[in-house]
Point group: D2
Chain length 270, copies 4
């Protein structure tokens, strides 16, 4: 699968390194606002051995149409900013290129533009595109349904200089319908980032915890998304849409052993 | 719902205290092997204020038929041992009484007897009947499907004198299809019991952790089971069978907001 | 060592069970305000096999002088309340009986009385007399001196119904000279109690964490205190006074291996 | 303080970045075996703005004597390997230059050479020169003395490909005199590295935990060591030697409040 990357900040670079190392994707190019690294090779710049083309271009040099003609892609990965969608929207829709946007903050206008693209091609948006956080969120929603009487608290830890409550923690609180003052915010030293969702039962505790190690985690989220979006009909998707099918352990699912073969029972008969 | 309890060891007593405090169940009696506490009142013995009858009988005093006639129940909660099922099987099946067995170790013969009862009445068996552990197990199976490339390790901590690896940890390992040497066993002091399932991604970590506080947790598991089994057809059920429906967040599920109302997007447009 | 216990609430009972099981102490009696359990045997009441006398008396039945004459003690353990000291102060001082008070809240007048007793006999007071918490506090003060540039946060977790910030957390904050808003308070379900002191360095994190399992932990703190106070001169002591000597790993200390035998170097030469 | 750095592998580079950002040290040069980066500027190579000289030389270009004449230093920081000491030993001793070696594996011969240097100048060696780990080790030794009856277990987590048990964990086990099978080794994904020392009391638990975030932590350990070694007499020192003075909270220590002013009591009188 041929991919192009929009944006080449810290996270964009980390994602590029994951794409280059993956056999699933072939990085055709990187497009960015700045002209600073123009025509540099991404593998060479990142010190990764790879024979994927991956040159860096500025938006000023090529229009999206010119770039897509010159170096066609099946999917666009967007780690730029609010205005990134302007660059590629029309051409991507026209050619049916899949769009995966991980832009964390959109203005209502840009988000609306992105959503409308969903009528013409496969579009996905996630402001925190890690598998871990999105899994946790769904698992927590399910546990809240199973045990609505539990007390839920969110503990998030980040580096000292991170201002305010983590956006991800606020999303979790909103999804679980708990007030924001149940988010406990720890700020100390150089902690990369952890989110823990704590369910307090009367006589037991369940903790769902995510720890970020490096921003390359977003790259693995992209690979998951790109893989799951394959063959999907045009539409506007979220990570939740892609994860939900895994939560339906259907009858006949090979992962669901027959009742009398289940290990609990094996244990019980030992 | 009128319930009777078989077994009155440490866990049986803890479960009885939860049943007495719950408005959902009415404890009709406790039956046990020993005659030591015969005719004592359970509320009085446990120091709980309650007007539920709950007297303690020995198996020698009444047969199941006599007891069920004298003090009818809708469900039997079994925290006794391998041979407990002998006492009530025939009469419970004949009268269509729901059976919830939390016996942790069955001989193949007894387990077989229990299973066969499933043809005639609603039977459920779980050797670790806490909501927390069973939720964790299902969540972990799902995450393993989503991210099969992760390294999974299980860390379980218990009091110093607990021999061998925890049975629950071994069940988790079996269900996740990971070798038992990936269970790390910590034994120290008076730790009640924790189980952590760790998923190591390349650049992030997800930890699903359960901490036991008191054995009353089994009582809450019983209440959940009894509630979910209401109206079920005869069959042999597991906790997984009762939890799975919660994992299917179907379209139209009120917990699943419409795509464009989802908080991630709200965040994205702030 | 013959001991008497003042107070027989939940914590007093837990402490009594530890004293009964310890070979170091012999429980002579329990004195309490209420007459409810008068003349009951503590071992029998707690279901502990022991041949220690340990009967329960009310303050109304005997004055301290009468009780000390009848059943002499070497130490008084006080888990009662503000006014407990009134009962025994004069007689304990006169006879040189060691006093260990774990009363958590004193009025200034009562505390003053207790302190003044230190001029005449060995007196110790600790409102949280666990070894774990007091060790953590000292270790944290030392680490703060070593690395004053770290960000320190305190995370305390307790059961849902515990009101306000934990007193222990506030003491830790005061001792470490950090503002109280760096205490993060988690309230959920039936969590017994945890305190974590987190030191955020730029590129590493140190966490000092205490988890309470049962209130019997106070009993072990009492045993430690009673043991350490043996042979001490009259004075008013704290747990910190008793722990500090362990923090001075002196030259010649058998625990301090000679420089060139230290394992780091053994590792280095492998 | 003028410093020179021996070794410029991954850790050497991370340490160099910390030295460049610190006002306490001035990086005069880096010496390494390889000639690959010869004469490159360290600040420029690492992308750090700094006016410290810091050029990279190969051992082949200058002898230690020539280099020390050309660009004098007060301290040598050694992150190279077993043979690094050969290069500078004689000249450093002759000029009284402080040596801080963080080489993790020495042959007995090289270690012996390093130790003998201690007769002539200030020498320090630590194979894991982080403040956090070394503090934890000392704190754990003290707690073991206070509570010898506790069960101690070590849990260490690292990335999947790290072979064998962590050397640091083995040192901790040796220092605490616990068998190596009480080290629980978790290997999963990209975990940088954590070490937890767990003390299991009968009714409470103390956990001392260190989490590595980035290898720059070694740089902060170097700064601590260099600072503490100032004014020391010639000798062979360890991190423990430098940390121990902080553990002696002496009478009159301003950090030790007078007994009746201590916050526990303040709490008690509220």
């Amino acid at each position: 699968m041929r991919v192009g990357l929009i944006g080449f900040g810290k996270t964009g670079r980390a994602v590029a390194s994951v794409l280059l190392c993956s056999k699933m994707t072939k990085l055709q190019w990187v497009v960015r606002q700045s002209t600073v690294l123009e025509h540099r090779s991404v593998p060479e710049f990142l010190g990764i051995e790879s024979d994927e083309p991956g040159l860096i271009y500025s938006k000023a040099e090529f229009s999206a149409a010119e770039l897509f003609d010159k170096l066609p892609v099946d999917a666009i990965i967007d780690f730029s900013g609010d205005s990134g969608v302007e660059y590629y929207a029309e051409e991507a829709a026209r050619r049916g290129i899949t769009i995966v946007s991980a832009v964390s903050q959109y203005s209502p206008g840009s988000l609306d533009k992105l959503k409308k693209l969903g009528a013409r091609t496969v579009v996905m948006h996630s402001p925190n595109i890690t598998v871990g956080i999105n899994f946790l969120l769904l698992a927590a929603k399910i546990l809240k349904k199973i045990a609505p009487y539990t007390d839920v608290e969110i503990i998030e830890e980040h580096f000292k200089t991170k201002p305010e409550v983590s956006g991800t923690a606020r999303v979790i609180a909103a999804q679980l319908d708990i007030p924001e003052d149940q988010i406990k915010t720890v700020r100390a030293g150089g902690i990369i980032g952890t989110h823990e969702i704590l369910f307090g039962f009367p006589y037991q505790t369940v903790r769902l915890k995510h720890e970020s190690i490096m921003r390359e985690a977003f790259g693995n989220g992209i690979l998951f998304a790109v893989d799951q979006l394959r063959g999907k009909r045009p539409g506007f998707y979220s990570m939740e849409d892609l994860l939900l099918p895994f939560f339906t352990l259907k009858d006949g699912d090979p992962d669901l052993l027959k009742a009398d073969e289940r290990p609990w029972r094996q244990l019980a008969t030992e």
